[in-house]
């Protein structure tokens, strides 16, 4: 397999070049990872330094105030939890259902390809556009002008649905077709195959998509600014038709206040936002690992 014309010295040279190239690329990749991690660490460090002194029980259980030290985060925290839970309730059945239909039932017709293309494009639409759409369709048309949690959650659902659909499609595609064939051979019909073979195998991949989608819903402020616009709320939403505000909107308001102490309060808000995000992702990862099964070779 070696080139008979190559002398031992030229072969050594070639080898040295290959080793060098290998090293260069490995160093490049490690550097890429380090830059990313360092950036994140610096950001986290900065937020923790600024925010931790303000993070206490009073902060978690009070409403916002014009005085930085009296300010609390209760209303936006409750609003964010409501929005995320409701968005998950809307997004998961619709998103997973769409993916199952497109992958397992729909024929690969021109029309269905068009649908898929559109879903992929929707993932790139700026979130403000969804906010305006939600204001027109949900607030003004569906709820008669009421700017409630359901309108907010439905808007967020539209925003994150493409992520869930695309991730679920990829997860379904990754299920080996031999599994389906085996189930069909045993007499299962299409729905039984989907239910008993495809979904359990695709679940971990779908969960990753759902985690990504809900993380995006937690961090978005632009659509909620349009739907709700409220940044001073002194009640915890009691039902899905309640008015509300969310964490990113409150943090944004605090950051733009002239008083310096509000920056510390905003940093404390960011810490709370991160904790909500991480614990939500933790739950999803726990579910994923519970159902994760490795295909046996």
């Amino acid at each position: 397999m070696t080139n008979p014309a190559a002398t031992p010295s030229s072969r050594q040279k070639l080898h040295a070049v290959r080793v060098l190239r290998d090293r260069i690329f490995v160093t490049g990749f490690v550097l890429a990872v380090v830059i990313g991690i360092l950036g994140l660490a610096a950001l986290l460090f900065d937020v923790l330094i600024d925010g931790l002194p303000f993070l206490n029980w009073h902060f978690l259980t009070s409403y916002a105030s014009r005085k930085p030290l009296d300010s609390g985060i209760l209303a936006p925290l409750a609003g964010t939890v409501w929005i995320v839970v409701m968005t998950a309730l809307f997004t998961v059945p619709i998103g997973v259902g769409t993916a199952i239909y497109l992958e397992e039932f729909a024929s690969k017709s021109r029309f269905n390809r068009l649908i898929e293309l559109n879903i992929a494009n929707l993932a790139g639409v700026p979130s403000v556009i969804y906010g305006l759409l939600g204001l027109a369709v949900f607030v003004q048309f569906l709820f008669n002008g009421s700017r409630n949690l359901t309108a907010g959650a439905l808007t967020m659902t539209l925003l994150v649905l493409p992520i869930v659909v695309i991730a679920s499609q990829e997860a379904i595609k990754a299920v080996p077709s031999s599994y389906r064939d085996a189930a069909y051979a045993m007499g299962a019909n299409r729905w039984q195959v989907v239910k008993a073979v495809v979904l359990p195998q695709a679940l971990p991949g779908m969960m990753s998509g759902i985690i990504l989608a809900l993380s995006r819903a937690i961090g978005e402020s632009a659509p909620i600014l349009i739907i709700s616009s409220l940044v001073w709320v002194t009640f915890v939403p009691a039902s899905p038709d309640s008015k509300f505000t969310v964490l990113p909107l409150q943090i944004f308001t605090w950051i733009s206040q002239p008083q310096h102490a509000f920056r510390g309060i905003a940093a404390a808000g960011i810490i709370v936002l991160l904790i909500v995000l991480l614990s939500m992702n933790g739950i999803a990862i726990w579910i994923r690992s519970r159902y994760q099964t490795r295909p046996e070779q």
Partner: protein, 312 residues
């Protein structure tokens, strides 16, 4: 490996979810019809006026904890859009209502009262190291900020100023501060040179000017007073000598032409509700103190009293 047990749970979860969704929609239908349990006063509008309305609502709720007074920041235009359809009771505004907005209100049969609640003095700031540009005339400011301006050195502003690069910082074009500044200095709303560093966050402008020896920027008075150790403020000569923005000069109107009023608009129909009337009277009685607490300047006591007396 098949996990049939998963779908035992999922099936019931799906049913629960379906019920929840149906329940949510029907609940919303009811909610719109019957309204909330506790009385509400709805405020939306300018994010510049927001701190004042928030402060007043916060204090007022200590007397009336049974009321909910959520305050929004849709912007002056966004607030008016909701106000002229009767959706909200009070609209915060950093500029007077436009003719088109008045027409829309009239079309919808909305009558309202305009109230001035505080003043803001747009403050021009320069770097802490800049000690020569302590006072500029309105004409000089115009020569810097007008649309055709190509001034990029301090010695072009005034011959005796040193040869130093001039870089500009200001609010973006969506801001009411931008609207007011361009009208007051350049003579026409929205007429401004566009090659300056723009940000919707005034704290970013503070950072910019405080780190740029040749920098100049403008924003609300509160952002200057909070950062007076980082920035120098420019006195403005509007024809009657150099006036420095301060609580006194903004209050008595001598800091011209860059003092601007802050408004709230009240729907007259809402004003007939006792809690709204009580809130508005509380607003006018306490705005001077609370506005100053959040960085704005109050009116004279007589000006507030006249507005209270004018409420029919």
């Amino acid at each position: 490996m098949l996990r049939p047990d998963l779908f035992k749970y999922s099936k019931s979860a799906l049913i629960v979810a379906a019920f929840l969704i149906v329940g949510i929609f029907s609940a919303c239908g009811d909610g719109v019809a019957s309204g909330g349990a506790s009385a509400e006063i709805l405020i939306d509008g300018s994010s510049t006026v927001f701190p004042i309305s928030q402060a007043v609502a916060e204090e007022f709720r200590k007397e009336r904890p049974d009321l909910q007074i959520p305050v929004g920041i849709s912007g002056t235009g966004g607030g008016f859009k909701r106000f002229v359809t009767g959706e909200i009771d009070i609209s915060d505004a950093s500029r007077p209502m436009k003719e088109s907005e008045r027409a829309e209100a009239a079309e919808n049969g909305i009558e309202f009262t305009e109230l001035t609640v505080a003043y803001d003095g747009l403050s021009l700031v320069i770097n802490k190291t800049n000690d020569f540009a302590a006072c500029l005339t309105v004409a000089e400011l115009k020569s810097i900020w007008e649309p055709e301006s190509s001034v990029d050195n301090w010695n072009q502003v005034r011959a005796e100023f040193p040869d130093k690069k001039l870089r500009l910082y200001g609010p973006d074009t969506d801001s009411g501060t931008f609207d007011y500044f361009t009208l007051a200095i350049n003579g026409r709303e929205d007429a401004s040179r566009s090659d300056y560093t723009a940000s919707s966050d005034d704290n970013v402008l503070v950072q910019g000017v405080s780190g740029d020896r040749g920098g100049m920027g403008y924003f609300g008075f509160a952002y200057y007073t909070e950062n007076s150790e980082l920035l120098n403020v420019i006195s403005v000569d509007g024809g009657s000598g150099c006036i420095t923005p301060s609580v006194e000069s903004i209050n008595d109107g001598s800091y011209a032409p860059l003092s601007r009023p802050m408004f709230i608009y009240v729907n007259n129909f809402s004003l007939q509700r006792p809690e709204v009337r009580q809130f508005i009277e509380y607003y006018l009685n306490n705005a001077a103190l609370l506005a100053e607490e959040v960085g704005y300047v109050g009116l004279s006591e007589a000006d507030y009293q006249a507005q209270i007396d004018a409420l029919e």
